[in-house]
Symmetry: C2
Subunit: 215 residues, 2 copies
């Protein structure tokens, strides 16, 4: 396609995009009402446009609807979270105990994300020295989903306090699929300008200057 | 912040956002002229807003300006690319040899991205069962940078055909930093509606239906 046909993004769009990046939030408090029919599918169509190594599209989404499987995931989270709490330094344990780290109870929509470990699609291009680019491609699909969801007002929370092997077992997926994350989606109970971890005093965001070297 | 203060994204913004996702492109052909003063810094500020596990911000960007280091990176790419070509199936080797996989020669801006393996920031939250979430956070910073760059018309190409240990050595960064990717940025020589890998017949994008299970 010649240059003239490329979309042109104006400053108003870029300002909204900056607002989306700034305000994206990892949402942990959801209303229980379901998402409108078809919305999740539209969001997943966008996630499917994410970059992937060698155009391998290694992401595999699992929509978790079965109540028994959802309960088993919650139980695994409770187990892993208790272990993580036990591992916290004494002065942080109280703070940790107060964090609401999951939205697994209320969120109407549960999505597990995996990466196929050795996809045939893409013919191996770009991952000989860095096979982890397969997982990284799935992460970019997740991040695309996240931004697309927030632009529709839908909240997303990424739960990583789970045992990957347990999640694979509960969801009955191939043993060579790499578990990337478990996602809760739904309407947020409230919108927040700052991350919950900042508001609760767990951590604060540092400037990019501390993250940039020159060589 | 109450709900009323949250940014509201309208359908026009979402349509542009969909266009950005669809048309993002991994750019491999760059003009040699530099980016305007300050643009890269603004893009990195946005990347710094990416989600990160426990608010750990584990990304470490290295702006590679030294000609000798750039040449060493190009040499490592040439080595790894030759090895990857040798590993291709016979019927694909010709096609592989014709792919222009890097923009390392022309791109005015080179950025290497690492993740700090065990950051103190974030106090370990969310990564006890999945330490790989540290790398995944850096990938989301990269993807944020990518989208922000494309919204400004800046091209980005992700080079993964490199030896991570060699890159660490060439750039003289701590040995425990995890190499995520090497990024070329600059003005694209041309805008393309479809991925180069599709146009050259390497691979084609498959629908999301093939990537979605229900459980």
């Amino acid at each position: 396609m010649p240059k003239a046909d490329a979309p042109r993004f104006d400053e108003a769009f870029r300002a909204d995009l900056r607002a989306l990046f700034r305000w994206r939030r990892d949402v942990r408090h959801f209303r229980r009402d379901p998402l409108p029919e078809g919305l999740l599918e539209r969001l997943l169509e966008l996630a499917n446009l994410a970059p992937s190594v060698g155009l391998s599209q290694p992401w595999r989404f699992v929509l978790v609807e079965d109540p028994a499987r959802r309960a088993a995931i919650r139980a695994d989270f409770a187990r892993c979270n208790a272990a993580a709490l036990a591992g916290q330094a004494e002065e942080r344990a109280g703070l940790y105990a107060g964090l609401k780290l999951a939205g697994l109870e209320e969120a109407p929509c549960h999505l597990a994300l995996f990466a196929e470990g050795d996809p045939t699609q893409g013919h191996g291009l770009g991952r000989e020295t860095m096979p982890e680019t397969v997982a990284y491609s799935a992460v970019m699909a997740l991040h695309t989903l996240w931004l697309a969801a927030r632009a529709e007002g839908v909240g997303l929370g990424w739960v990583s306090i789970l045992d990957p092997a347990a999640v694979r077992r509960v969801l009955d997926v191939p043993g060579d699929w790499l578990f990337i994350g478990y996602l809760c989606l739904g309407w947020p109970e409230a919108e927040e300008a700052s991350p919950e971890l900042e508001r609760l005093g767990w951590e604060k965001r540092r400037p990019i200057a501390e993250r940039l070297l020159r060589r």
